[in-house]
Amino acid sequence: MIATESLSKRFPRVTALDRLSVDIGPGVTGLVGANGAGKSTLIKILLGLSPATEGRAEVLGLDVATKGADIRERVGYMPEHDCLPPDVSATEFVVHMARMSGLPPTAARERTADTLRHVGLYEERYRPIGGYSTGMKQRVKLAQALVHDPQLVFLDEPTNGLDPVGRDEMLGLIRRIHTDFGISVLVTSHLLGELERTCDHVVVVDGGKLLRSSSTTDFTQTTTTLAIEVTDTDEHPDGTRAVREALDARGVAVQDGSGLPGAGHVLLLTATGEETYDLVRDVIAGLGLGLVRMEQRRHHISEVFTNSDAERKEAVGHGS
């Protein structure tokens, strides 16, 4: 779908992309990086709107330097920032954008009705956009990127500004763009955790350099951290400590969840697979404690760096 070869983009003062070579196949791909890591610059280059300083890139087999217009006809783009005029309805706006993508008037209207329904906008689509909630606006932005049935869609921070429920819905929708609509997705975020659940493949960039590119299963195997919290009982007045000791005895490394809400009662442990969940359940049941919560922690991008450092050390340790 997308292939870049030592792609660089330098501005007078900053290097936005530094010899980035990455190969992205069909499916949902997450592009993760802190703010200013070069994600938006990469999307601009891939849309053929900004020439690369050096290197080359292809989207759908078309060279971005020469076939920009052809690429833009088959690709959708949802920007990070607000881009909707408040005084028109979602229907009018998306119809107009469909025509801008080259759809004939009748097809533009049909596709708009379909697409708005698919992203979850119903009666409200006839009302002016100015009165929409953030979640609804994000859906309109998504609809205008999908209305011309592209083969690939670039979503720049689609979960920005959404509440947790809205976030989950948006992530579910992104998943469906691929599974139900058959459209490949490149989605950017600065939160690795939310992309892990949605994407088949994750590319991590930092300072314009490729930090890591691997399928999501690799990520989850190495980075899933569980947070657990248990009740205290008469038998075990400090339930947290009891669980910790029991897990230690079975060879599972447990850390304090210091710095988290409910510190002192939360334990963190690294899950190596399904069996860890079973083990935790069995241990807690064995002690007769109540399990208040057990959840996957959402990772922040910085953890990828510390993890990859740790792995490197580990690899060195194994080697010697």
Binding site: K44, L47, L49, S50, A69, D70, R72, E73, V75, G76, Y77, P79, H81, D82, C83, L84, P85, P86, D87, V88, E92, H96, M97, R99, M100, S101, G102, L103, P104, A107, R111, D114, R117, H118, G120, P128, Q144, H148, D149, V165, D168, E169, G172, R176, D180, F181, G182, R293
Partner: protein, 302 residues
């Protein structure tokens, strides 16, 4: 966990409703030229508030009526009094009605481009097949067309009225044609100036104020200077001063080449030599406005 249960069912429900099957689109994709035409017609309709809220129809429609009303009155008078000629030249009409034209361009130029800048819709256009030049041309052409409709409609009223009053056909047709050429130039010039000013600011209010200021201050200054020059020096410098405001520029071109009687003090417009300079300056301004718009939108990009 328990608290999350009810919300967890919501996405499931929606999936069920959404999931009525996605249909792929394999119909025609009409490409750049079609997209440019679509943007043109959308902007042209927008310039009269069509396809927009009822509120945004009020001003352009009102100005259109105000623009045509005097023409209707002139025609009515001409028919009633059985005059030999219309009391007002075709080429003079737009000059007399310049305040209405200025108001219209001040309101509609920012409407056309400032909104896209302010709400950051521009990147959505440029992430589609059209390019900077397509956007600029479509916007320029649509606003110039809207102005042409505004300025040519009253001329049409005059012409039809003149024919109904059985005035000389050849004479009237020639005057009408000259009038159309002059308002076409005026439309291109005013649309260009209005768009350049409006495209600098994402704030509509500033755009409106700036366009009105440029048009009225330049006209006020030029006509004052002309009046002074007329008294002090003679008609020579009067003609040259007229180069510095858009409306006197059009006046000069029409009186030099399109048989108009000039509104300049003393009633003497530029001669043929000076007239050529007027035409060059007018065309230069139109080209310059286009160039500036292109430069502006190269930067806005994504």
């Amino acid at each position: 966990m328990a608290a999350e249960q009810p919300t967890a069912t919501v996405p499931g429900d929606q999936t069920r409703i959404h999931n009525i099957g996605y249909r792929n689109y394999d119909g025609p994709r009409l490409g750049r030229a079609y997209a440019r035409r679509s943007l043109y017609s959308q902007s042209l309709r927008g310039a009269y508030g069509l396809g927009r809220s009822a509120k945004s129809k009020v001003l352009p429609m009102l100005l259109f009526v105000v623009m045509c009303l005097p023409a209707a009155i002139i025609v009515a008078v001409a028919v009633a009094t059985k005059a030999n000629d219309l009391p007002l030249d075709y080429t003079r009409y737009a000059i007399v009605m310049q305040a209405v034209i200025s108001l219209y361009i001040a309101a509609q130029a920012p409407q056309s481009v400032s909104r896209d800048l302010r709400f950051k819709t521009v990147p959505l256009y440029f992430s589609r097949p059209i390019e900077t030049a397509d956007y600029v041309r479509a916007k320029y052409a649509s606003l110039a067309s809207a102005l042409f409709i505004l300025t040519a409609a009253p001329l049409l009223v005059l012409y039809v009225g003149a024919l109904l009053a059985k005035l000389d056909f050849a004479d009237q047709t020639k005057g009408f044609a000259q009038g159309l050429v002059s308002v076409a130039l005026l439309s291109l010039l005013f649309a260009g100036l209005g768009l350049v000013i409006a495209s600098v600011t994402p704030r509509r209010g500033f755009g409106i104020a700036a366009v009105i200021a440029v048009l009225t201050i330049s006209y006020g200054a030029v006509s004052t200077l002309q009046a002074i020059a007329d008294v002090q020096a003679g008609s020579g410098s009067v003609a040259w001063i007229g180069l510095f405001s858009p409306i006197t520029l059009i006046d000069g071109v029409s009186s030099a080449f399109l048989g108009a009687t000039s509104a300049f003090p003393g009633g003497v417009g530029p001669g043929n030599g000076e007239g050529a300079v007027y035409v060059l300056v007018t065309l230069g301004l139109i080209a310059g406005a286009y160039g500036l718009l292109m430069r502006r939108y190269k930067k806005v990009g994504l």
